[in-house]
């Protein structure tokens, strides 16, 4: 009996997250996160890639993900790596996907199947894809390209795209249905804070419905950019570009622990206090925004709870800043926050297919 599998792909600049949604025995949508147990990864890269698939393609050896990674620390060279990031997709929208890039993208999805999804031969794979930093219209055009040009070779039926913030809300919606005793939304006014990679969004929900436009704040990318710019000024020679510095900045952020004394960026080591100082502006911007939204007299009816998702929750300076700015409104960090978007996309995929069948 082959299964229908509902997948959510979340593309960020350096990582791709994959989750699968399925209907549990209790008839609620639930998830599996699809990770690759990569035991041979050097420990300094584990914090960044223990959950996500490295968004890299080694053009010299035609290798993806984890297989492409060793070349980063063995012999980095210009243009050797490509990423399936917003620039790749923007170029595909403007100029169309070249034959080579189409194959590369299709094989990326195959790579995810071989290492993460492990489909059986008689299974049907459906997917919803989430792209960071692309508009809704761009995403729709991209979906058409994926359906027509990539789907047959990738052996996945692409059924939709979804905005990262919307995916976060989808995840929250299904998670509340799963655990109503833990997350009760129907009679509450909650603020969903998505500490995403590209931006932070704060969306008020009243009785499970969006009642106000969301408020935006810097995402984790802006924090990484600040670190990359700062360390770039320290000088690394010509071989290290901004993209690579961003990768190391992201690694530093994901491996940061409060008692850490030093942070390594490529071969430079900076004191942790200096690092925290570099990102202070962006972090306080997030906290200020939250303070404004959560302030009791900011709305007629005060918030009952703040729900936090997104990869920023695992970053101590941000989570500590949130703790100081939530005006004593109870705050709940949802499980596996890094996968919230991919889970939301997978749940949306399940909903799209099953609503069609109904």
């Amino acid at each position: 009996m082959g299964l229908d599998r509902y997948l959510g792909f979340h593309f960020t600049d350096n990582c791709i997250f994959v989750a699968e949604a399925f209907l549990g025995r209790d008839s609620h949508v639930t998830w599996d996160i699809l990770r690759q147990a990569n035991y041979e990864l050097p420990p300094e890269w584990l914090p960044l890639f223990r959950t996500g698939i490295p968004n890299f393609f080694d053009t010299e050896n035609n290798l993806y993900g984890f297989a492409a990674l060793p070349a980063i620390w063995r012999g980095f060279s210009w243009n050797r790596f490509m990423r399936f990031d917003f620039r790749f997709f923007e170029a595909a929208l403007k100029k169309g996907l070249s034959g080579e890039n189409r194959t590369r993208l299709a094989k990326l999805f195959r790579y995810c199947q071989v290492y993460h999804i492990h489909p059986q031969p008689d299974e049907r794979l459906y997917a919803v894809v989430t792209f960071e930093r692309l508009s809704q219209m761009q995403c729709e055009d991209l979906l058409a390209i994926l359906k027509q040009q990539v789907s047959p070779e990738a052996r996945i039926s692409f059924v939709g795209t979804i905005d990262p913030e919307e995916a976060g809300l989808q995840y929250l919606w299904y998670e509340c249905k799963n655990a109503p005793e833990k997350l009760e939304l129907k009679n509450k006014r909650v603020l969903l804070v998505s500490l995403g990679y590209d931006r932070t969004t704060m969306t008020p929900w009243d009785k499970a419905e969006t009642v106000e436009p969301n408020v935006q704040a810097p995402g984790m990318r802006q924090l990484d950019e600040a670190v990359a710019r700062y360390t770039g000024r320290l000088g690394f020679g010509r071989t290290i570009g901004m993209d690579e510095l961003m990768l190391y900045a992201q690694r530093a952020r994901r491996s940061f622990v409060p008692e850490q004394r030093e942070i390594a960026i490529v071969n430079k080591v900076i004191p942790a206090t200096e690092y925290v100082e570099v990102i202070r502006e962006q972090v306080s911007e997030i906290a200020v925004r939250l303070g404004e939204v959560a302030r009791p007299h900011a709305r007629k009816r005060p918030l009952d709870e703040i729900l936090v998702v997104g990869e920023g929750t695992a970053f101590a300076p941000v989570s500590e800043a949130l703790q100081t700015a939530h005006w004593n409104v109870p705050m709940c960090v949802l499980d596996e926050p890094v996968f919230a978007v991919a889970k939301g996309a997978a749940a949306y995929c399940w909903a799209l297919i099953n609503s069609k069948e109904e």
Binding site: F22, R25, E40, P43, R50, R110, V114, H118, Q120
Partner: protein, 576 residues
């Protein structure tokens, strides 16, 4: 008070893993968490965050300091092979001692205890509370002596013996698989019908095959282990050895060095280094094969030009002294790996070194009257790090009929530890609802016990389906001649006509008064919780009496396993 923390340990030959279920905040939590183990990595670099596994290598840096994990495995095993010990699981239950320093003797239990101590300390640091209970996995084919030795190791490591349970590795793997499948409304198998699942578990040091019957029973899914393979040591280590032998040949020819002419310490250093290279090459070719699936549909289209690994020149040295250099090599899958590993995939013969031997042995046990037992299987579940090597899966697909689904466990590395944590929660929690839809039958002893008296052939006295707690008596008629004692030889084996039946112990019943001919003497037995068999005897209507042990396969072991001396050594040892 019911426990709220449950610990599962996969005590592997090449690496150990740790999983926990923490219900202190959420009493209904069924989330299995993989715990990463802080340890020294290459270049003696400490990682506090840890890595997801602990290589099962112990390096004795000093008499009072042992370093466990990757640093020991990747560096010290090569630099100081005399003081680093690996694959200790293969020695469990044997009379073997290890002497890293003169006068310091470590038994397999003691070394396994060092690994378990490290894992227990990791769990305690993670949970911030004392851990004395756990489920530790062992190969299904471990005999009672090997199991007893594992319990000894757990006790030495600080676990409470009465709170530790041993679980067969394939059972743990299937528990994790079934638990995940049971969460889904649609799953690969319709569990409403009785099903047969064959678990093929090949790790670094052992290959286990278990056959599990699943059937719905009173609203639960009942898992019953119906057969398992014999103890076999064919595993990843043997794949490495064959590559190591190939490399040694190249090394000896290229460097005009003969291993036989080298002093023992240098021999060890050369072999340890070549084994490490062989293991790396196996992993590399395994990755290449998997990567090729991104581009190809099936492995039959592979050829050497597509899948190969390059090996840079490798200096083989003993301390500072360079013994020789292994030249630069380009090794393809078909040549040499496929040729070197061909005996392991030889389906044509009854070769015991082939991966099919344990499958055949388990199938024959489960379906003795069926000429094609492989058709009875509904699903083949692969587990263990060696399954990363795709030809293993391809060989299984070729062996079983097309309609049999062959698939990997959800996590080839971690499923056993996860299953162990689930089992610990199943046995240790009073909370209904969590994992309550799965019922795991008590596992039988699997090997029957036979009695031989006066070369009169083997009589089965303990059936292989006997389960812990079971107790029975076997009546023996007193022969003519008013004997003062009866000699008994007890054998272990699958069947009386099995060529692998082995003598377990020789014992005697000594009478106070010579009995009359035809009088009944009862040999009584009971299966202990660790599946060991306890014996005593009684006269008809009489009191139970002890058997006199004349010789036991484990007698020397008992002498060598002085637990208190190991305990003293462990107390003085710092483990990092």
């Amino acid at each position: 008070m019911a426990r709220k923390v449950f610990v599962g340990i996969d005590l592997g030959t090449s690496s150990c893993k740790l999983s926990i279920i923490d219900r202190r905040l959420d009493i209904k939590s069924s989330k299995v968490e993989e715990v990463e183990v802080p340890q020294y990595l290459d270049n003696h670099k400490w990682t506090e965050m840890g890595i997801p596994y602990l290589p099962s290598v112990v390096y004795f840096e000093r008499e009072d300091l042992a370093l466990v994990g990757q640093y020991a495995a990747r560096e010290m095993l090569m630099l100081h092979p005399d003081r680093a010990v690996r694959a200790i699981k293969r020695q469990m239950g044997r009379t073997w001692t290890y002497e890293p320093f003169e006068g310091t003797h470590w038994t397999p239990q003691g070394i396994a205890a060092i690994l378990l101590h490290k894992l227990r300390a990791t769990a305690e640091d993670h949970l911030k509370e004392t851990v004395t209970a756990a489920v530790i996995t062992v190969p299904a084919s471990f005999d009672s002596r090997q199991r007893e030795a594992t319990l000894d190791a757990a006790q030495l490591a600080g676990f409470r013996r009465d709170q530790v349970a041993l679980l067969d590795e394939p059972s743990a793997a299937i528990l994790d698989f079934v638990n995940r499948q049971m969460q889904r409304l649609d799953s690969y198998l319709d569990f409403e019908q009785p099903r047969i699942i064959l678990v093929f578990d090949i790790g670094g040091g052992t290959l286990d095959v278990s056959i599990v019957r699943t059937e719905p029973a009173g609203g639960k899914l009942k898992l019953q282990i119906v057969a398992r393979s014999r103890y076999t040591e064919l595993a990843g280590y043997d794949f490495d050895l064959s590559v190591c032998a190939y490399l040694l040949n190249i090394f000896e020819r290229g460097c005009k060095v003969s291993l036989a002419d080298l002093e023992t310490r240098r021999q060890r250093a050369v072999l340890a280094r070549l084994m490490a290279i062989a293991e790396d090459l196996k992993k590399a070719i395994s990755s290449r094969l998997r990567e090729s699936l991104v581009y190809l549909d099936d492995l039959t289209r592979l050829n050497d030009s597509e899948v190969y690994v390059d090996l840079e020149p490798q200096e083989i040295s003993y301390g500072e002294e360079v013994i020789g250099v292994l030249p630069k090599l380009r090794l393809g899958y078909h040549r040499p790996f496929e040729r070197l590993w061909a005996p392991f995939f030889d389906q044509s013969s009854e070769r015991v070194s082939a991966i099919y031997a344990p499958i055949r042995s388990a199938l024959a046990e489960a379906f003795p009257d069926d000429p094609r037992p492989e058709t009875r299987v509904d699903l083949v579940l692969q587990h263990g790090g060696m399954c990363l090597l795709l030809p293993i899966g391809a060989a299984l697909r070729a062996y079983f009929p097309e309609q049999v689904r062959v698939m990997e466990t959800p996590d080839l590395m971690q499923s056993v530890a996860s299953g162990a944590a689930i089992y610990d929660a199943m046995r240790g929690s009073n909370e209904p609802g969590i994992f309550a839809d799965i019922q795991m039958d008590t596992q039988p002893i699997f090997e029957a016990v036979f009695l031989e008296r006066y070369r009169a052939g083997l009589q089965e006295i303990v059936p292989k389906a006997a389960v812990p707690g079971q107790t029975e008596e076997y009546a023996i008629e007193v022969p003519d001649g008013a004997p003062s004692r009866l000699l008994l030889s007890l054998y272990h084996g699958f069947r009386a006509d099995d060529p692998f039946v082995t003598l377990d112990r020789e014992a005697a019943i000594r009478f106070e008064y010579p009995p009359k001919k035809g009088e009944k003497v009862y040999l009584c037995w009971r299966i202990k919780p660790n599946r060991d068999v306890e014996y005593w005897w009684r006269m008809e209507g009489g009191e139970p009496r002890e058997l006199i042990n004349l010789s036991t396969r484990g007698a020397d072991l008992a002498a060598a396993t002085n637990l208190s001396s190991q305990q003293d050594q462990l107390r003085q040892l710092q483990i990092e």
